[in-house]
Symmetry: none
Subunit: 236 residues, 2 copies
Amino acid sequence: MEPLYRQLQQNIKSQILSGLYREGDLLPSESELQKLHGVNRSVIRQALNLLTNEGYIIKKQGKGSIVARPPRRTLGLLSVKGFSQNVSEHKLTVKTVMIDKPSVKSWPSVFFYNISDMEQRTGCIYLKRLRCVGEEPVMVESTYISNVNLPRLCSRPFVNGSLFETLNVNHEVEITKVDQDLRAVAADEEAAGLLRVPQGSSLLHIYLKFHTNRQHLFIYSSLLCNTADYSIGNHL
Amino acid sequence: MEPLYRQLQQNIKSQILSGLYREGDLLPSESELQKLHGVNRSVIRQALNLLTNEGYIIKKQGKGSIVARPPRRTLGLLSVKGFSQNVSEHKLTVKTVMIDKPSVKSWPSVFFYNISDMEQRTGCIYLKRLRCVGEEPVMVESTYISNVNLPRLCSRPFVNGSLFETLNVNHEVEITKVDQDLRAVAADEEAAGLLRVPQGSSLLHIYLKFHTNRQHLFIYSSLLCNTADYSIGNHL
DNA sequence: TAAATTAACTTAGGCGTACAAGTTTTTTGT
DNA sequence: ACAAAAAACTTGTACGCCTAAGTTAATTTA
C-alpha cells in the first residue's frame, strides 16, 4: 500500500495531466486539501513538495500552489551518427586504431551512467578505439554495449569499420535517442600518451548513452577528445 | 537569516566536501544530529532530504544515511533553449550577472562563425553574461545577435531574464536549428578570473549558432564552462 | 559454538500545534 | 470613491509525539 503522501501526489498529478487544473491555475490551498482528503497537513505538504520537485507546480508563500507547465525534453547535441560517419562527411582522412577489440566483459564497478539490473546481469561488450585524423590522434573512445542478443559482434570485423553500421546491418539495431554529457578535463597519463599531448592538457570529455529500438540494449561511449585542431560539432 | 534546515544542509554538505565524511561512511543518526545541533528532528529530516535530492547522501531505512559520491549535475544542454530556461527546469538556483549589457557593436574582426555580407552590414547586438549556480560561477556567455529589426532589445530588460524568451515574445523570433562546436581549452587570465578557477584549468568551450525563422537573423554564442561541478548535457 | 530470539538501534510515515512571513480580501476612515 | 489599516487567507519553519518498518547487536537457547 502506497503511503498517503504518494497517493495524494499521484492524485493531484492526474488532475493536472487530465486538464482539471491548467497552467496558471491555483490548486486548492493546503488547508482545503487537508479537509478534502482528511489527512494531516504534513502529508499534504510532502505530496506538494514532490510535485514541485517534478515541475508540476510552483509554490508561492502567501499566494498558493500554481500549476506549471511540465518540463520538456531538450534537443540532442551531437548527432546520433558515430565518429566514422561524421568525420568522413567532413572529408577528412580518418583512421581508427583498435586498442581493445570487442570482447565480453562485466561492467566496470563504477560506471558513468546508471545501469539497470537487467543490464548488470547480461554484462557488456567492451571495445576501445583511438581515432586519428591522418596520423594525428584526436579521440580515445571507450564503448560499452549491453550484451543482449548480439552474436558474433566480437568475432566479425565491423561493416565498413563502423560499429553503428554493423549493429544496424547485422542486428537490426537502430538508435532512437542519445543522452549527452560534456565536460572539460585535464589529460591523465594514459590519455596524454594515447593522444600525444602533454599531461594536463585540456581535453573534451563526452559521455554518451545511445538508446535503441531494443528495450534493454543501450550503447555507452566515453570520448576523450583533443580538440586543439579538430573540434566536435554538428555542422560542416 | 537562513532557515535552520538550510544551515544544517550546508553544514553537512561542507563536512562531506571537506572529506570529514567519505563515500560509504554513515552520517550520525537523526537522533544524534538532533542532540548535536539542538534542533527538532523534523529540521534534521528536512536537511537530510535536501542532501538526498542533491545526491550527497543515500538514506536507508533501518541503517542510516550513507555518504554518496555527488553525481555531476548537468546544466541541460545546448538545446535551443537558453541557459536560463534550461537550468530553471532543473531546479538549480541559478543567477545571471550581466557583465556587458546588450549594445550595438560591429562584429569582431575575427569571429568564430562565418558572417554573411548582410550581417556584416547590420552589425550586431552584443552582450556578455556570467552564469552562476548559487554563488558558484559556472559559465561565461558572450552573445552576438544580428542587428536585424530588433528595436528596444538593448533598452528593455529581458522577459523573465531570458534572452530567448524576449526574442520570442517581443519580436516573434523562433529558433529553428542550432549548430554546435565543442572544444576543451585552458583558462586564460580573464576566464580564470571570472570563473574563479586557476589559470590553465580545463574549460569546456562551446560555440553556438542559432538559426531563426528570420532569414538574416542569427544568434551566436560563445560559452566558456567550468564543468568541474556541473557538466553540460541533455538529460537530468 | 551456532542458531534463534529479543532488544536496541536506525529511518519512514503520520499526526498534531504554533508562529513567521507573504499575499489577498475586507473593513474603516477621510 | 479612494487609501490605509486590519483581518483573513496562504505557504514556510519549527516544534513535539507516536507507531511502523528495516537493520544490527546482544542475549538466550539448544
